[in-house]
């Protein structure tokens, strides 16, 4: 039995060896590790679109292999190590849960460059990158306050991590800058990805009386529900206008491509340094989908706010801001520092929900 297996293995090995010998190996490899599938319609798809843009930008110079559906945990460490060993010059690990795995592999392979999305642990050959999604959420809040007749919006949240809490607060701040009495209801779906549950959450919020929806989950299901019930909504991660042509006001679109091109260029030039990058609207790492389904004055306001954020004139988290219980957080004119934002675990005044502890 053993002999047979060995013989078979040898045959297969020979076949494999023949074909691999023919391939040329001159291009630089820039590799990607995904937590979901590249067609998930949300987070991972946005990264994969970025990867495709990158491939197009450096057509002949680089290759961009990727691994899909890599579970967070020991599998991630193996997947990243496999990439490092297979000759990747730079590896983007695109989920928070890959943080410790990336740190470990980066220590083992000092010559390979690593880039971890949304984490906070860096190293000499490990950079981190993130996007200031909250800037977009602030604009959305302003639009919501203008468009909502009831002054009440619904927010479908995934998990109570700082990223999501920050988004909720930014939305409420934007809304309050227009209507100081604006209220926000939050429902935690406890999932990033379950179209059915997201639709249920959307329906529950609409039944509770909200007339604008926004979501921090990945599928277009809430947008579809909003369209069906005839209310307005905001898209997430990608432009969801196809799911709600008469419903979507705008969407926060993750445009990682710009960042990937910038970093790959640095790699090829030899100017790559480990940095902790937190880019925003002005850097093109996120963009606002076209402002649709709203009157011109609202659109003008949104565009003006977007321009102000880009120029740095406006920081969404600028005092005076009180915490949910009414205690003071930021004094007038004071801006929140990045550290506090990245670890945000409290609501600001006006959010109608208790933050899960």
């Amino acid at each position: 039995m053993k002999k047979l297996i060995i013989a078979l293995a040898a045959t297969v090995a020979a076949l494999g060896g023949l074909s691999s010998g023919a391939q040329a190996q001159e291009k630089t490899k820039v590799c990607f590790v995904y937590v979901g599938t590249k067609t998930d319609g949300g987070w991972t798809q946005a990264h994969d679109i970025g990867r495709q843009e990158l491939q197009k930008a450096f057509a002949d110079k680089i290759e961009t292999p990727y691994l899909e559906s890599v579970p967070e945990g020991p599998d991630a460490e193996r997947a990243i190590e496999r990439m490092a060993r297979s000759g990747c010059a730079m590896i983007f690990t695109t989920s928070f849960g890959f943080m410790d795995a990336t740190v470990k592999v980066a220590e083992k392979f000092p010559k390979v460059k690593f880039e971890h999305a949304t984490g906070f642990k860096a190293g000499p050959n490990l950079a981190t990158y993130n996007s200031r999604f909250y800037e977009g959420r602030y604009i959305q809040g302003q639009i919501a306050a203008k468009m909502s007749k009831k002054g009440l919006a619904g927010y479908i949240a995934s998990f109570p991590i700082p990223e999501v809490v920050m988004g909720i607060n930014a939305f409420e701040l934007g809304a309050k800058s227009v209507n100081p009495n604006f209220k926000l209801k939050v429902v935690w779906a406890n999932t990033w990805f379950d179209p059915g549950k997201e639709a249920d959450a959307a329906k529950a919020l609409i039944d509770q009386g909200v007339d604008i929806l926004t979501q921090h989950t990945d599928t277009t299901a809430p947008m579809q529900v909003a369209a069906e019930r005839g209310i307005l909504a905001f898209g997430q991660a990608s432009d969801m206008i196809a799911a709600g042509p008469k419903t979507q006001l705008t969407a926060i679109v993750d445009t990682w491509g710009a960042y990937y091109i910038k970093r790959t260029k640095a790699l090829l030039d030899g100017t790559w340094k480990s940095e902790q990058i937190w880019d925003g609207l002005k850097d093109g790492i996120l963009t606002m989908a076209p402002y649709t389904n709203m009157p011109d004055d609202v659109k003008a306001m949104a565009e003006e706010t977007e321009a102000k954020i880009k120029s740095g004139e406006l920081h969404p988290f600028t005092g005076p801001i009180n915490k949910q219980d009414g205690s003071a957080w930021l004094k007038a004119g004071e801006k929140a520092d990045d550290g506090t934002l990245l670890g945000m675990n409290f609501y600001i005044e006006g959010v109608d929900d208790k933050l899960p502890k």
């Binding site: 494999g16 060896g17 691994l67 020991p74 193996r78 906070f120 998990f159 899960p356």
Partner: protein
């Protein structure tokens, strides 16, 4: 035309050896066809799947890491299934084992002692066993179906872990991200060799498999499992209690799953986080049956399944097939292995319809 089976007088020892080889050949043929249809070089694809992960030392370590929890859980489940108790909630017992085992390193990180690690492993096993005791209790006390209860408890365990790592056990210095503090050195299961990451979990798995094999083969308890599994009545005549067997098999498999859970967290992840298992508890069910519920067979099937995961990654990277294709391929492999096993107990005859009419005419 139809296919008929004829039971062999006794299990064919020839086909016990030929069947897995036949399955391998069929998988290779069908796999080659599939990759060829997808426009990939079949030789290259199969090489990436089955050979590439076996060529490097680090990759062999990874194979051991991946196989360890599968084998450990599946060995426990095999005792359950042989005794006709249907625990399909090993995923939940794995999770609770990981949580209970992590109490020391998370809540008393300042206690540095060589006792920490053994205590963690024991607590993990106890946690898993106690969680599996819930369906056992409900089954023996209220006659509640253990398949359903153990499955429902999986979801509850996962949500409980989710709440812990986002709430009370969250690392205060971790920017509020959902993770506990990293375990101190004393709480980390050591690596076996210098050459890679493989840690003690694979040793536990092999010991467990050999131990259970010995029990099933040479000890009265093993006989009790088999008799009660075949027929509860016969077991009663032999003086065995099916009630006690429910407790024994459920808690044994729970303990193994719990041990797998804490070993995985301590040896591979080094902290608790919302997702600690890519479905080991469910995959182990397949491993158990693929190994024909024989602990030694489970060692082999555990490594085979682990190999398909690693091979799937290698194929994604080197020839660019998607993860969906690797899952389809994995499904095909399982189908072939399962159906070729039929040949051990049965003879297969292909009956042409004309023959059949003739047979029926005569009778």
């Amino acid at each position: 035309m139809r296919i008929e089976l004829e039971k062999r007088a006794s299990a064919s020892s020839l086909f016990q050896i030929v069947s897995p080889l036949l399955a391998l050949v069929l998988t290779l043929l069908f796999g080659a066809l599939m990759f060829w249809m997808l426009g990939k070089n079949p030789g290259h694809a199969l090489y990436a799947f089955f050979i590439e992960p076996l060529l490097e030392v680090w990759s062999l370590h990874e194979l051991a890491i991946k196989a360890a929890p599968l084998i450990l859980i599946a060995v426990g489940l095999s005792v359950c299934y042989r005794s006709n108790n249907w625990n399909i909630g090993a995923e939940g017992q794995f999770t609770i084992g990981a949580i209970v085992g992590s109490i020391l390193p998370v809540l008393v990180p300042q206690w540095h002692s060589p006792l920490v690690l053994p205590l963690m492993l024991i607590m993990g096993a106890i946690g898993g066993a106690l969680f599996a005791a819930i369906p056992a209790l409900l089954r023996t006390r209220f006659n509640t179906n253990e398949i359903l209860v153990s499955l429902m408890l999986v979801y509850i365990a996962q949500l409980f872990l989710d709440w812990l790592v986002r709430g009370p056990w969250r690392d205060p210095k971790g920017f509020n991200f959902p993770q506990t503090i990293s375990f101190a050195k004393e709480a980390v299961l050591p690596e076996l060799l210098e050459s890679g990451r493989a840690h003690w979990a694979i040793v536990f798995a092999i010991i467990a498999a050999v131990g259970i094999w010995f029990m099933m083969r040479y000890m009265l308890k093993g006989f009790e499992v088999t008799v009660l599994g075949r027929s509860e009545r016969a077991g009663r005549f032999a003086g065995f209690s099916s009630r006690r067997m429910v407790w024994f098999s459920m808690m044994l498999s729970g303990a193994f799953a719990g041990l797998a859970g804490i070993s995985e967290v301590s040896g591979s992840i080094n902290h608790l986080q919302p997702s600690i298992s890519p479905g080991y508890g469910f995959t182990a069910i397949i491993v158990a049956f693929l190994g024909r519920l024989n602990p030694l067979g489970i060692i082999v099937s555990g490594f085979i399944l682990a190999l398909t995961y690693l091979g799937g990654e290698a194929a994604q990277l080197s020839i660019g097939v998607s993860d969906k294709v690797t899952r389809v391929f994995q499904g095909l492999l399982l189908f072939f292995v399962l159906s070729c096993d039929t040949l051990i107990l049965y003879r297969i005859r292909i009956v042409l319809s004309s023959d059949r009419a003739a047979v029926e005419g005569r009778s």
